[in-house]
Amino acid sequence: MIKCPFCQSVYPENTLFCVECGSYLAPSDGQSTDPLQRSNVEYGQAGGGPFKILVLSIEGRGSIELPLSKEVVLGRLDPTRAIFPDVDLSDEEGVDKGISRRHARISQRGGQVFVEDLNSLNGTFLNATRLIPEMPYPLKDGDQVQLGKLTVTVHLK
């Protein structure tokens, strides 16, 4: 027997969805989110790509380093809906600051790094300009990306 974590309805083993509340019940099959590591990072100088490392820092909270070999999705983790962003901002008051489950994406193509809003409810801003959803904008070292009300500084190494 398995129990729906949301509404406590009971189903046979291996059931996929809860009909009461629509939650996804199956285990997440090893998908997970990279944990946020707080460390002080020395920032490199801006320059042409290709870049290997993306550093995201939140004022007063610390920084996180991510490889740029694959795209990076920022958002909020929600295992019951099978949403696993690469960077989970739930602990950064993600809900209060209006961050969507899948909010924005940072990726690299041909030595240029881009940020793209994923149709988030409260929008993504690059240096205080709101981005048109689903359109990649070029990012440079030291840019400020705002997700909802949360400001993240981007450094490229």
Binding site: E13, F17, C18, V19
Partner: protein, 492 residues
């Protein structure tokens, strides 16, 4: 040596079938067409052909001669039915409690390119009641005119209108005079009430005139209102049409029509889908055109899926998820699916409940799809698959569940939630319905259906204030969630 039929197709088996397969197919069909017990039309003739097929295919020398003849006739083409089964789990742990297993069953027809299709025998039954006045009737007439252009010289089109009574606007004939037909359609005026049965009856009479195994008969009914007192007669007519092999596509414009009745007419007549909701008049032409096009693409008709399950297996639920979401019901382990159109596979989700099994491989279910090909000789097609699952004492690594199943089940779950909301509103459990509608809206947002999610939230607000649905919102939700299964069509 000369042969009269493609015996492989007659038995619904591949050309490289072994003797066992031939025997089994023959026995199965012989039981179906035995003149002493069969109720099928032309059973005696079919039975005779089956005998012939069996004798020839079981004799190696004759079979070789037949194969040679068949190659010369160019009958060696792909089998017209593809049956694909994807289980949610290939391996299951041995548990001492029941567990669920999902099967995604796809029935499709291979792309055979443009062959010659049998002629279409179509009747349009159009509502011309007063409420149709203006844009609605205009668009319906335009749609009917464009169908006139769409049809080939061999095709037959008749047009019937109804209000309080039914009138024959255009009678079907070969080599139709297209100009005269368009003028006749253009002369339709709106006036009077809505009595669906009158129109349905006259329309079916028109289709019957040319109906036979060699044509693709079909009736399209379009209305914008409620019919009073003749619902039972409508359903009876639909049932008869289904038995005769004349599917009825039903369409409703606006929000005042009886969705349940139109659904039942479509289902009883074994149409490939349920009723179609037209929320804007601009869609009418497109929907008509798509319908007629799909009709011309019919590859297999009277499609049915048989499900045979062994011990320790229960079929818990059965839903069609494409072309649209519908709950299906088994009669004698069989479910009828209407006709199969090229480029639009029928997809069924089977939810099984398995009682504890011992370790090792177990055959759980045998699935068989069958139908007949359109055309004068009505060849039977048949294909079957066995579903086996391995039970193991300890699962080493969980394999991810196929994304097709997860996505289909997610949409199906939203559809089921919508059904529950409707039941709850009917039963007066408004609080619970509001809560469920809001959760449903979140789920709709998750899969990117923003428009439907807004309708759900709007209706939740309306329920809070007035305790009832708006009929338009209810239709939008019902038809919207049902249409979640539709794979977006690629336009050429």
């Amino acid at each position: 040596m000369e042969f009269k039929h493609d015996y492989y197709a007659l038995l619904g088996i591949p050309a490289d079938a072994d003797e066992r397969t031939i025997k089994r197919a023959y026995r199965r069909l012989a039981r179906l067409y035995h003149p002493d017990i069969s109720t099928e039309p032309q059973a005696a003739e079919r039975f005779q052909q089956l005998q012939e097929a069996y004798q020839i295919l079981m004799n190696p020398i004759q079979r070789q001669a037949f194969d040679h003849w068949r190659r010369r006739q160019g009958l060696e083409r792909a089998h017209p039915l593809i049956l694909r089964v994807t289980p949610s789990h290939e391996e299951l742990p041995c548990l001492d409690e029941p567990q669920a297993l999902y099967l995604l069953v796809e029935i499709a027809a291979p792309n055979q390119g443009k062959g010659s299709r049998p002629p279409i025998n179509l009747c349009l039954v159009l509502d011309r009641s007063t409420s149709m006045k203006g844009a609605r009737l205009y668009q319906v007439k335009e749609a009917a005119r464009s169908i006139v252009d769409q049809l080939a010289p061999d095709d037959l089109l008749s047009v019937v209108t109804f209000s309080d009574r039914a009138e024959l606007v255009l009678s079907g004939s070969h080599n139709m005079d297209k100009t005269a037909a368009k003028i006749a359609v253009g002369s339709i005026r709106s006036e009077g009430g809505t009595e669906i049965y009158q129109g349905l009856k006259l329309g079916l009479e028109q289709v019957e005139r040319w109906h036979g195994p060699g044509v693709l008969s079909h009736l399209i009914l379009i209305t914008d209102g409620q019919t009073y007192g003749d619902e039972e007669q409508c359903l009876e007519a639909a049932r008869r049409a289904g038995e005769r092999g004349i599917p009825i596509t039903t369409m409703g414009i606006g929000s005042d029509w009886n969705g349940k009745l139109l659904d039942e007419i479509a289902n009883l007549s074994k149409a490939p889908g349920s009723s179609i909701y037209l929320d804007s008049t601009a869609k009418i032409q497109e929907v008509f055109r798509d319908r007629v096009q799909a009709l011309g693409n019919t590859v297999v008709r009277d499609l049915a899926l048989s499900i045979h399950w062994g011990q320790g297996v229960t079929v818990k639920e059965l839903f069609r998820v494409s072309p649209e979401i519908t709950e299906l019901f088994l009669f004698d382990d069989r479910v009828t699916l209407g006709s199969l159109e090229m480029g639009s596979p029928q997809v069924v989700i089977l939810e099984l409940l398995l009682s504890p099994h011992t370790p090792g491989s177990h055959q759980l279910v045998r699935l068989a799809a069958q139908g007949t090909m359109p055309g004068a000789d009505g060849q039977a097609v048949y294909v079957e698959r066995n579903v086996e699952t391995r039970f193991v004492t300890s699962l080493e690594q969980r394999k991810p569940i196929p994304s097709d199943i997860v996505s289909a089940m997610g949409k199906l779950t939203i559809f089921k939630m919508q059904q529950r909301v409707t039941h709850e509103v009917e039963a007066g459990r408004i609080e619970s319905a509001i809560h469920r509608l809001k959760t449903m809206a979140t789920r709709l947002l998750d899969i990117g259906e923003t428009e439907l999610a807004q309708v759900a939230l709007l209706e939740a607000g309306r329920l809070e204030q007035t305790g009832s649905f708006s009929s338009e919102g209810q239709k939008k939700l019902h038809y919207g969630t049902r249409g979640l299964g539709i794979v977006p069509k690629k336009r050429p």
